[in-house]
Subunit: 367 residues, 2 copies
């Protein structure tokens, strides 16, 4: 088992990564200071629950906890105020008190939803994450929790740190292949931002990762979490440096906004976005290698590195202009200067970005 | 104009109390660091809006602000997730960004609702309170914001401090008489907890207060806020000493829970609750004067000091057992030991409380 402390003063918490962790969940919760006197509520989705919920509930009960559950439909639409209210109702019916915890068993959707519920119930109770996707390594650090509004993603939320993250690698075995690659996009992103050696490692170990080799996955998730934790610790409420975590996300979010339903998963969209950022970096003076290694790392992880022709450039640009990351009309972009290094640029011209989007469609022939 | 700083480190903020403050709202917001580049959303209710909203919006616009509004029905049922979602929609439609503020123009209902919206929109934007009730002096300090769930009051919320509180005494002139007395209950409570001299002052100035004399009101609200601010500063997230603010609320909440609709306002319920707490205090050894002065202060403010006969003691006791303030089966009670002094007692027997409830029905003949 690997353990990483996320250092946030009195809100610090451990992330434990390893095999067989769910089978020891009760003991872990007790160790984290939770009391069997206060009931727990486990939130999961209807794809994850049939696989792991019963086992977890049984385990928690055998440790003396009273644990109820709330199952939402799998998928992004469950990040809604309606599901949030459902969780509140369950929490009240089950008698959760100020010392209770809400446990998220699932991917980033369940984590964000259950986390916002924990942030709000009685103005904040404890929150425990048990991530079951690779992408959720990203959401398990940083304390951002939220639901969506029909008009905007993640717009209703809070900063609420978990008390404990239990990452059981065994659960990842049932993850669909496309979700595996999508999650690896954020892993690679964390390397591209801060750690060139880790990018090399990702390229060398891509096959082991795609095969869900527990040793390789454990290391990759640990490194991904560590980079993010380091950045978040120095900027808990996203005032400054934390913005570098948005590498690839400016273009990526715009692609998600204009893509057809299920056409691009989040990790796929930001993969293309990171390729675009690398192109921009090279254009602004970074060595050619930045682009080549970025493409290699993402491509080997089974991710798209070019944009399908049918995406409309105008619509992508429009979506970008609506993105909340554009303060006061200027274009803020995270741009790599080397592998493992990025800078926040406030001076990116729309025309440059438009050119990049066009180039992404002919990526195979670029540069 | 009086000013009070609520000291909470980097979350400190000023409460300004005086006449004509709404007419200078724009300048006050600019001074608090808000920018005209980011739109504002003013939340009010349909009793307050016809009186003060247009004037405020015009004032804000004349200072260069873009300000939209969202009007909810007057009354407690507006503290709901449905109204919360409505505010989110308005905020998005109106383009509120991370530097925007949500302004609450109204009583505690509008303050709690708009405050929770500000706490949640984009994971927290600025919040400005413009209280128009006396009771709202209480909610303008402490940062507690929330909406209700059909099963429980204030159960969905956050701690979110305002950036500024503008208390325009002129708005209080239209407050219905019953709301005036109800608000004075919390003013007197703050005296009973911490400041015997202020209790004397309240008794001596009750008539001026009921007549809404601006000088008297300004002083009373200032003192009420100051006591609460002092307690909150030392315990921002309600871990310990802040519990003393619940004087009268254990019984009061139970009375509200069993009372018919509109039979008891919050201030009336806690007035009876504070009489009960004083009885308990005397029973536990406090001087008789504690009870007599408490009754005098509340009675002179136009508040009920006894319990109507038809209230069922069993139902009141049951409601108290459900109150979230009872941790782990024990009865926690705030009990006065002198005028201006209270203690947190963990050892209060249910039978004592039951006796007090019975006595409250024959209060006129007690002791
Ligand atoms: N809070 C943050 O900081 C943060 C960071 C990144 C992403 N997110 C959010 O995370 C969400 C995406 O997360 P995600 O990709 O984990 O999505 P997800 O939770 O929807 O999971 C993806 C799919 O995989 C299924 N699944 C999950 N675990 C499984 C398992 N072990 N076996 C089989 N199937 C499984 C789910 O049911 C779902 O259908 C987005 O809503 C995004 O906004 C949040
Ligand atoms: N957040 C906190 O710390 C805190 C503390 C105490 C109370 N509260 C909450 O505050 C709420 C009660 O506050 P309230 O008593 O101000 O209730 P309120 O906001 O409902 O106001 C009472 C009534 O007076 C009307 N009104 C308000 N201002 C007026 C004016 N100037 N002229 C004419 N009519 C006016 C309102 O429309 C309403 O009908 C409760 O929901 C309670 O939970 C919160
Ligand atoms: Zn992402
Ligand atoms: Zn009160």
């Amino acid at each position: 088992m690997r353990e990483l402390m996320v250092n946030l003063g009195e809100r610090s918490y451990p992330i434990r990564i390893g095999s067989g962790l769910l089978a020891r969940a009760g003991e872990q919760l007790l160790q984290a200071g939770l009391s069997v006197k206060s009931p727990l509520l486990v939130v999961s989705d209807d794809a994850v629950a049939p696989l792991y919920l019963d086992g977890l509930l049984e385990q928690l009960r055998s440790s003396g906890f009273r644990a109820a559950s709330c199952i939402v439909p799998a998928g992004e639409p469950s990040k809604s105020l309606a599901r949030f209210e459902e969780i509140m109702t369950k929490a009240l019916e089950h008698g959760l008190d100020r010392k209770s915890a809400i446990v998220a068993l699932g991917g980033g959707v369940v984590g964000d939803l259950a986390g916002y519920a924990a942030a709000s119930y009685m103005r904040g109770i404890r929150f425990v994450q048990m991530p079951t996707t690779i992408l959720a390594h990203d959401s398990s650090v940083g304390g951002k929790v939220a639901v969506n509004h029909p008009m905007a993603k993640n717009i209703i939320g809070a900063f609420h740190q978990p008390s404990l993250v239990l990452y059981d690698l065994d659960t990842l075995k049932t993850l669909p292949r496309r979700e595996v690659s999508s999650g690896l996009a954020e892993v690679v992103k964390h390397g591209l931002i801060r750690d060139a050696t880790f990018v090399d490692w990702c390229i060398d170990n891509a096959e082991r990762l795609l095969a869900l080799d527990a040793e390789a996955l454990g290391y990759a998730l640990y490194k991904g979490c560590a980079v993010k934790a380091d950045i978040v610790s120095s900027d808990e409420t996203e005032q400054g440096v934390r913005a570098i975590l948005n590498l690839g996300h400016t273009i990526g979010h715009a692609l998600e906004a204009v893509a057809g339903y299920n056409e691009l998963h989040h990790g796929e969209a930001i993969s293309i976005g990171m390729i675009g950022s690398a192109m921009l970096g090279v254009q602004l003076g970074a060595p050619q290698e930045v682009y080549l290694r970025t493409r290699e790392a993402l491509g080997k992880a089974g991710l798209p590195v070019s944009l399908p022709e049918h995406f409309d450039t105008d619509r992508i640009m429009e979506a970008m202009m609506h993105d909340k990351k554009f303060g006061e009309g200027k274009m803020v972009f995270i741009v790599p200067t080397a592998i493992g290094e990025v800078e926040i640029r406030q001076d990116i011209r729309q025309q440059w970005v438009r050119d990049i989007v066009e180039r992404l469609k002919r990526e195979a022939s670029w540069p």
